[in-house]
Symmetry: C2
Subunit: 244 residues, 2 copies
Amino acid sequence: MPQENSQTSAKRPKITRGQVIAAVDTLGQGIANGTYPQGSTLAIEQELAASLGVGRNALREAVKVLSGKGLISTAPRSGTKIRPMSDWNMLDPDVLRWHADPETASPEFMLDLIELRQIIEPRAAALAAERATKADLAEILAAYEDMANTEADKQEHLEADIRFHTAVLKASHNRVLSHFRYAISTYLRAHVKLGKEQSKSINNDDLERHHKIAWAIASGQSKTAYQLTEEMLQTNRLHFKEEA
Amino acid sequence: MPQENSQTSAKRPKITRGQVIAAVDTLGQGIANGTYPQGSTLAIEQELAASLGVGRNALREAVKVLSGKGLISTAPRSGTKIRPMSDWNMLDPDVLRWHADPETASPEFMLDLIELRQIIEPRAAALAAERATKADLAEILAAYEDMANTEADKQEHLEADIRFHTAVLKASHNRVLSHFRYAISTYLRAHVKLGKEQSKSINNDDLERHHKIAWAIASGQSKTAYQLTEEMLQTNRLHFKEEA
DNA sequence: GTTTACATTTAATGTGATTAATGATAATTT
DNA sequence: AAATTATCATTAATCACATTAAATGTAAAC
């Protein structure tokens, strides 16, 4: 349910129902951005914690969800504590979203995400070139078309970009690999929100590269797909680094 | 808390306290192995669901945790349903553990995990060769020593093996990459539980390879570390395939 | 003086019941 | 026939109470 929210949060600023998921989101964000520092204890029982505007029981359910994501540990008498960052499930969609919040995200984490992309996506593209079905190809090509047609609208262009990379991952036909769509979309969203205004020429190069990648996958050239994806991410990284 | 349990579950068969985490585990396993088929609705309100031996409130918290892991969706009137497998967070430690349960795990999923290892680990080893600190190296070498000294005890050998790969990932100094330790340890545990008895010569080769990898990382030879890790996983895969 | 044993205390966990909101289905009306 | 309304089953949320378990402090014993 939380990641359901992560998709629609942009369109639904107000959450009328679902106190517990609101509490999960607020607490998760607070933990990620350091409002609740690591090692500190949260006084659940106190009404203070219920200052989130939810009842005690809803808060408890929220704490349980966050425990499941590794953000919190609970033990009698010692209280509910914030666990050290090395313990949270960085691959959880929600944790990724909170931790990559443009307001507070550390540049190091962004670089970690780029590194992950550089490792995952070229191989995923190569696998896609070997295994993509016609339906997969249709999705990839449709996403590319959307990218080409939405160069004016930044938001729409971003969504199409995410669709493109998601479709490639899906075409790899590896159930685990496909789940990196969350990490990638989180990175892309944070990237644009950080105001990385790219020049028109760079954008054109980027679009051109996506076209070549789609073509390589469609024609089954796995090695080419690998190399093109690697190049795309390399320039992406350089571009990020020189600004950071 | 759940992944805390995943570590100690072998040593603590009985869970005296923590009804909700017991419910999470039981339900999670049940969903993963198909006891509760995808798309089916769970009757929470009914005492039937409380046949797990826990109260309604604990069950509700368990449902929330599983929602957070993408296994379940809840909506008024339509009920709480099991989401399609493509929606679960396959990278969550608990979900991995449930889904890779040797009793019911599909061979395809095991192959997906090997494929993931082939993508991640060589690059992680290469990064470790570039970035490992002395403390990291000490951990890797200690894990190797443990592997060499526990060839008699299969269980201890497995734990040392897991420590080795975890240490390499940690030495990559990428906060996201490090979290693949769960996927890798899950795979390794499932692999040995599936009764993949390896001949003594293969085991010796494997140990020898770990030694070479540790040496390559210690001496900063990233390319060698990459290739050796790739080879190790390649033979691993072949070995798995010929039995599957 | 140090350690062990026990009782106390405090916060989390578990249970049950009740009320409110939500959304899908069915029925009614235009 | 389409649209609006009414109904009803189910989740969501909160309250109040009982239980459990661990940390602290006190006292006794070595």
